[in-house]
């Protein structure tokens, strides 16, 4: 009997604890676990739990801090990941494993650093998150605008002025996320790798000033809740045809536009971002990035190898990546998956354009995101406290930067 107990003990390892940020993804991962069991390891056991996009970071943090029942694997969004960087980072450094699995060649270069900090890589990104401009192809045609000519923001704004003056509509919807997005388009970011906030002050002032100016001239408009992710935005400004374009990531169009503007099927087009004219005379890249989920391993986990094997499987399995796109509308960061026809074919909803192909074309230009312990705070602060004041001209760009800087540099853990 003792031998039986010992055997039982060795065969059955503790199930892997996986925490996911949303319910839809929970379903995806549960099917991944099944697939993994079938394809790789029949004895594999895992428990997948989801906690809600907003609740998850807090629960994770408390669990890690107190050491009580933390998960082995966790899925986090890059914006929220930063908050865990103050002090001892509770995630495993995956650099060596990534190299061994040749993922450093197979994952889109710029995305590899998404979860990196001070030379270590703590997570694997799942999505490319390339930004594009979604435009109303039907209205563009009616107003005589050729999207191919909108190669720079200057040309874009010029076209926008005609739209405002002659037709009373706005050219682009403005959202607080554009601040970081446009900084990254211009080879800058909210932080640099040394931890300085707003490293390129001129660029930051130019971007903020640009946002303010567009609002003033009505070339840009701000949705009522100051967010392009507000479902009510689609049912008011978009529905009434008051605005012609929105800057968003792949899932924005694939998920939200498809769900909330079904009667505009076939009327949406996609194009790269217009370029900025940089101070040294060059033109900037024509895409950017924001957010994106990734998988991380808890440093305190006792099943590092099992966790990594599973993650590796999820990232590299081509069928899973295709499924993620088809069901969840997230374009993968794993390059070999881009050859899948299903991702590349013409998309009916988007004016029969080859959306996936455009994303593949833009992929090499997707900029890096600089992680920082205060990144989440910065994004949130700008979005909630300063964006509206800026956009309505109550605060000048320099003032916003200074105030934010003071707040960000004030007492924070480990800074």
């Amino acid at each position: 009997m003792a031998i039986g107990l010992v055997l039982a003990g060795t065969v059955q390892a503790k199930p892997l604890d996986i925490w996911i940020s949303s319910f839809q993804d929970q379903l995806y991962y549960e099917s991944m676990v099944k697939l993994y069991k079938a394809k790789v390891d029949k004895a594999f056991e895992a428990k997948v739990q989801s906690f809600g996009f907003r609740e998850m970071p807090e629960k994770l943090a408390v669990s890690i801090k107190t050491g009580i029942n933390p998960p082995d694997v966790v899925q986090l969004d890059e914006v929220l990941f930063g908050a865990f960087l103050g002090g001892d980072v509770p995630f495993t450094d995956l650099n060596a494993r990534i190299k061994k699995a040749k993922l450093d060649k197979d994952i889109a270069k710029s995305r590899q650093s998404l979860f990196a900090y001070k030379g270590k890589t703590y997570g694997i990104p799942q999505s490319l998150s390339a930004m594009v401009v979604y435009y109303r192809a039907d209205l563009f045609k009616k107003l005589g605008i050729d999207p191919a000519t909108l190669t720079t923001w200057d040309k874009f704004v010029a076209a926008g002025k005609t739209v405002v003056e002659d037709h009373g509509k706005s050219m682009v919807a403005l959202d607080p996320t554009y601040f970081g997005i446009m900084l990254r388009q211009r080879d800058s970011d909210l932080f640099d790798r040394d931890g300085t906030v707003f490293p390129d002050r001129e660029a930051a002032i130019e971007v903020l000033g640009w946002l303010q100016k567009q609002m003033e001239s009505r070339v840009g408009m701000v949705p009522e809740r100051a967010s392009i992710f507000d479902p009510l935005f689609f049912n008011s400004a978009i529905q009434y045809g008051e605005v012609l374009t929105v800057v968003g990531a792949d899932w924005y169009g694939l998920d939200m536009l498809q769900q909330f503007t079904p009667d505009l099927k076939g009327k949406w087009g996609v194009m790269p971002l217009p370029a900025w004219k940089l101070p040294d005379g060059r033109l900037s890249r024509r895409t950017s990035t924001f957010a994106g989920q990734g998988l991380l391993i808890n440093k305190a986990s006792k099943q590092q190898d099992a966790a990594w094997k599973f993650i590796e499987f999820v990232i590299t399995d081509k069928e899973s990546n295709a499924r993620r796109f088809l069901d969840g509308n997230s374009f993968p960061a794993y390059r070999p998956a881009w050859k899948d026809e299903r991702l590349l074919k013409p998309n009916e909803f988007f004016n029969n354009q080859k959306f996936g192909e455009l994303l593949v074309r833009l992929a090499p230009e997707v900029p890096e995101v600089v992680s920082h312990p205060n990144r989440a705070k910065a994004v949130f602060l700008f979005q909630e406290t300063f964006f509206t004041s800026l956009i309505y001209g109550e605060l000048k760009p320099a003032e916003v930067l200074d105030k934010m800087k003071t707040m960000l540099e004030a007492a924070g853990p480990g800074l």
Binding site: S22, Q24, Q49, T66, N235, Q259
Partner: protein
């Protein structure tokens, strides 16, 4: 008062109540109708799409089948947790209120203030330490870990202190003269304040039903979660989950309170006033 006068007053009051009733009933109706709407319909401006186009019961069926959350498990958990807390809170607060109301002892005011002051502080203060302490005593991921901290309520102490102040002293003296122990005296007084016990029980039930912070930290296993917690994870930035499911779950959540209310309503009227009129 004449019958006619009473009817007039009744009608007038009803009329004056109308705006308030509308303000509370229309949102409730909206919530119920939301069960049948698609997400797109749901977020249309209220004037345009108040009524759903089709009355599909899909959301309800899916919810009850457990497709989104293990509905019956979490609903049951919420019931147990709220009911348990209500029971516990009433017991503890009633006893404490009785002590504060009918006895004099040194340090009374200080103790009272301590008991009540703690609830005036943001809950977040207790979150992390409570979580690790609950775990240390072995109540992590257990419904008791949520229930037991919740039976302490300063509001209850205030409430019952007031309630027991209003009991006539003669009543207590009568019981004492008959040689009853203090405990017995207390037990004889209880039926007098029965409506207050029920009222507070119901209030505590309502207040704890929606609680999120402590349950979120203490409960991890899906089938052990409470209803609001389980529903919270359906929230998605890209709005993929149907709002109708949330609406259905919330409508069901109103039922236990409605039942409690219906059962106890008549008893809410104080027997105290009746007794004194005799």
């Amino acid at each position: 008062m004449s019958g006619q006068g009473k009817t007039q007053r009744g009608a007038l009051s009803l009329l004056l109540l109308c705006p308030f009733l509308l303000a509370v009933l229309v949102p409730f109706l909206w919530m119920v109708l939301g069960i049948f709407k698609t997400n797109n319909e749901f977020f249309q401006p209220l004037g345009k799409a108040f009524f759903p186009v089709n009355y599909e019961w899909q959301n309800v069926n899916e919810l009850l089948d457990g497709k989104w959350v293990p509905f019956w498990d979490v609903f049951g958990n919420s019931l147990v947790v709220s009911f348990g807390q209500a029971l516990g809170a009433v017991t503890l607060s009633a006893m404490a209120g009785y002590a504060f109301a009918r006895f004099t002892f040194s340090g009374k005011r200080l103790l009272f203030v301590l008991a009540v002051a703690l609830i005036l502080v943001p809950r977040q203060l207790f979150a992390v330490p409570l979580f690790s302490w609950v775990n240390e005593i072995g109540l992590s991921d257990s419904l008791f870990g949520v229930m037991l901290p919740g039976v302490v309520t300063g509001l209850g102490v205030i409430y019952f202190t007031q309630v027991f102040r209003q009991v006539p002293e003669e009543y207590l003296q009568a019981a004492r003269i008959c040689g009853a122990t203090e405990l017995r005296v207390f037990l004889t007084v209880l039926p007098l304040v029965w409506p207050a016990l029920l009222s507070y029980g119901m209030i505590h039930f309502i207040l704890t039903w929606h609680e999120q912070l402590v349950p979120m930290l203490v409960l991890t296993t899906e089938t052990k979660q409470t209803l609001p917690l389980a529903l919270a994870k359906l929230y998605d930035v890209s709005q993929r989950t149907p709002q109708g499911v949330q609406m259905a779950a919330s409508t069901f959540a109103v039922i236990p309170t409605a039942v409690l209310f219906a059962l106890c309503y008549r008893k809410f009227r104080s027997s105290l006033s009746d007794m004194l009129v005799h």
